[in-house]
């Protein structure tokens, strides 16, 4: 399942509710990988007090769907839950959740990493930071998570 949310979400509650609602998982999953991305209060040497997360409604869901489909082709996954925040966010707000259920850990770990890296390079979200002095700046690009 893919969700784009415009207000704060609790990733732990989302994971529990999703797992409970998917009875087909019962007895079948041996591994759950969870990645949560959270907003920092610093970036590139500056204090950051907030961010505005813009996206392209429709394309966001379409591209995320393609990324999850690619992961499902490559690894044996039972279920996946991807949630991404948009709108105005603040330090300590959770921005992204990728949760994967699989029979064995390798598939869950690897698919989770793949989805996060692909999301960061393909899915149309853009962050604009608001610094301590109220100046704002667009993030130019995401860094490669493997470096």
């Amino acid at each position: 399942m893919i969700k784009i949310v415009a207000s704060a979400f609790d990733p732990y509650a989302e994971i529990q509710a999703y797992q409970k609602a998917n009875q087909a998982l019962s007895g079948k999953f041996g591994a759950t990988s969870i990645f949560i991305g959270t907003m920092r209060d610093f970036n590139e040497g500056d204090q950051v007090k907030g961010m505005s997360l813009e996206h392209y409604p429709g394309m966001t869901e379409k591209q995320l769907g393609l990324v999850v489909n690619e992961a499902e082709q490559r690894w044996k996954l039972l279920e996946s839950l991807v949630i991404h925040r948009v709108g105005d966010v603040f330090p300590d707000d959770d921005l992204v959740l990728v949760a994967i259920w699989s029979a064995h850990r390798g598939d869950a770990f690897d698919a989770s990493r793949y989805i996060m890296e692909a999301l960061k390079s393909k899915v149309p979200f853009w962050k604009k930071e608001i610094l301590a002095d109220d100046q704002s700046r667009w993030l130019a690009k995401n860094t490669d998570g493997y470096l």
């Binding site: 991305g37 813009e54 429709g58 991404h84 992204v96 960061k120 853009w126 667009w138």
Partner: protein, 78 residues
């Protein structure tokens, strides 16, 4: 031949152009690059990404009637 397309801009490109969308009508085949030239005097930034109907395309992609083309900077989600 009559072609009408919708053009959308996001993030820093929206601010650069000072608007979020345009509509362009023309009577011959047009590529993505030509569309940009038709709506802006500002050169397209080097790292611009382009999507047609919400799928990534190359700059020489030819547009057809009813297409939605979007221009935006590198994505920074996650």
């Amino acid at each position: 031949m009559f072609v009408s397309i919708k053009i959308r801009y996001f993030a820093s490109l929206k601010e650069l152009l000072g608007r979020s969308d345009d509509t362009l009508e023309f009577d011959q085949e047009m590529s993505v690059t030509e569309v940009w030239g038709g709506v802006s005097k500002i050169p397209m930034p080097d790292n611009t990404l382009v999507a047609v109907n919400m799928e990534y395309v190359a700059l020489d992609h030819q547009l057809v009637d009813g297409d939605e083309v979007a221009f935006f900077p590198p994505v920074t989600g996650g």
